[in-house]
């Protein structure tokens, strides 16, 4: 199995994640799209690690997964907090500040 195919799949998933961040207006879904981008990264790293036969890629994935967990904790707390104040998590509604 060639590494290219895995990388190609990872690029597709990453691009879909980018599109999700740009398109979706629900903050939770935007956030899930970021998780999709991170997952695509994980796939690329595991594929490269397989190709090089080096553990560094696996370690990187381990760190990404754990960091994602930390990010999720803070991100969802932020979303819950803003929902309590505003009763909306649509990011188009986030326009308290004129810009």
């Amino acid at each position: 199995m060639q590494t290219e195919w895995f990388i190609l799949l990872s690029v597709i998933l990453f691009t879909m994640g980018v599109l999700g961040v740009l398109f979706r207006r629900n903050a939770i879904l935007v956030f899930m799209s970021v998780e999709l981008m991170l997952n695509a990264t994980n796939l690329a790293l595991v594929a490269f690690a397989h190709q090089w036969g080096s553990e560094a890629g696996h370690l990187f994935v381990f760190f990404i997964i754990t960091v994602a967990a930390a990010e999720v904790a803070v991100g969802l707390a932020l979303i819950v907090a803003i929902f309590r104040t505003k009763h909306s998590i649509n990011i188009d509604d986030l326009r308290q500040m004129e810009g």
Partner: protein, 427 residues
């Protein structure tokens, strides 16, 4: 077969991602993402990463996505996304994202990236002190063309130095016994090799030889590699046999046969467990009891651990009366753990990646504190406590007011402001 499995996993991953992106219902989106993550875990298995596949399922698809769904349901946010708008920015974004996709994907397919060969690792080298008469406290240095590196210091008889990684090239090994003359021997280290330098033999000028070792992953389950090195007597070749607990003729096996002086045996792979080893003179036989006279040394209960590369040195030990006795020195070093397994990752985490691992711990602590800080204020806000008190007072004032027809308090009690603070859209 692999291609089919890849196609299967990739299709599910893509379907999950499409569900996630296109679904109007946030819960469906979350389930789509779970599907993608599960499919990626499957692909990780194809790529020899069983441990990460496990983590991906438990932590990512499990813990993290449960949290997402929990928050979606908690906020009732599953249908909040209905009024999607498609302003100009996302259109530009789509163009940029597609451009990025083609920028990465097209050249990847035209250039064969499998062509990149990992560079061979630098050679590793260690030193074993099995020279009977040069005494303890030996210093060993490795003199290369560029610089001289100490390989071992204060090494006693039967001791072994740690492996040292050096640049490939030609070196001179210098062995300096305490108060003795320095012995030198040239060695050549090629990239990717693992070498053990053994100094052995009796007298003031021991011989020096190099034993190649193999530290790659042991393919057989629960097994270790064993090499036997004969450093006992120039006239005797040895064999290593298994005698069981007693010298039972029916329980013998030869692991290394007829090794001449100063050479190492072929590598044998043995399953972990307890062994009763005997080192015998001459040819080891699997059927004939060699007789007690022929046994040079025994290792009654030798415990062999798994995933090791063992170098067993049979060397000459000087007795108090000056005679020589054979003695066994098993030297073990761990082989590379199986690629992508939990053990391999665990070892890396606690050695090379100690710093990021610790930072990760601090990061999780900071995230915990952050989550608490962000959500705590709404649980016990000061304002609401005031309101509760007023609400208690409210019926009383109402009762007085209705009975006397007189307003007791001037300011009407107020309910907490629950009005929607949403800005009018279109500003």
């Amino acid at each position: 077969m692999e291609t089919v499995l890849f196609g299967f996993g990739a299709t599910i991953a893509l379907v999950g991602a499409i569900i996630m992106l296109s679904s109007k219902n946030a819960v469906h989106s979350a389930l789509g993402l779970v599907l993608t993550m599960g499919a990626l875990a499957f692909l990780f298995l194809l790529l020899n990463a069983p441990f990460l596949a496990m983590i991906q399922i438990t932590v990512y698809a499990g813990a993290i996505m449960v949290l997402f769904i929990f928050v979606i349901m908690l906020l009732g946010a599953d249908k909040l996304d209905l009024r999607e708008r498609f302003p100009v920015v996302p259109v530009l974004g789509t163009a940029l994202a597609s451009a990025m996709f083609f920028a990465i994907a097209t050249p990847l397919l035209t250039n064969n990236i499998d062509l990149i060969e990992p560079p061979p690792a630098n050679p590793q080298v260690r030193f074993v002190h099995a020279a009977t008469d040069i005494g303890n406290n030996v210093a060993v240095t490795l003199d290369g063309a560029l610089r001289s590196q100490p390989l071992a210091e204060g090494l006693n008889l039967r001791e072994v130095s740690n492996f040292m990684t050096v640049a490939p090239g030609d070196y001179t090994v210098s062995i300096t016994p305490e108060g003795g003359a320095t012995l030198t021997s040239p060695i050549s280290l090629t990239a990717g090799s693992v070498q053990t330098i053994v100094a052995y033999g009796t007298g003031d000028a021991p011989s020096i030889t190099v034993v190649p070792e193999d530290l790659s992953t042991v393919q057989e389950a629960r097994s270790s590699r064993v090499i036997v090195f004969n450093a006992f007597d120039p006239d005797i070749s040895i064999s290593m046999v298994n005698f069981g607990s007693e010298f039972d003729e029916n329980d013998t096996a030869t692991y290394a046969n007829n090794i001449p002086y100063g050479t190492a045996s072929e590598t044998t792979t043995l399953i972990e467990g307890d062994y009763a080893l005997a080192f015998v003179r001459g040819e080891g036989s699997s059927s004939v009891n060699p007789g007690i006279d022929n046994v040079l040394a025994r290792e009654e209960a030798y415990e062999l651990e798994r995933d090791q590369s063992k170098l067993i040195v049979l060397f000459a030990e000087r007795q108090v009366d000056g005679s020589i006795r054979a003695s066994v020195d098993p030297l073990g070093v761990m082989t590379r753990p199986s690629f992508g397994g939990p053990r391999a990752i665990g070892i890396e985490l606690f050695t090379t990646y100690m710093l990021p691992f610790q930072l990760l711990a601090v990061l999780l602590l900071a995230a915990m504190v952050g989550a608490i800080v962000l959500t705590r204020h709404a649980v016990t806000p000061v304002k609401q406590r005031v309101n509760v008190r007023r609400r208690v007072a409210r019926p009383l004032t109402n009762v007085i007011a209705s009975q006397t027809g007189h307003q007791v308090v001037d300011d009407a009690p107020q309910l907490p402001a629950e009005t929607d603070q949403r800005e009018p859209s279109g500003d």
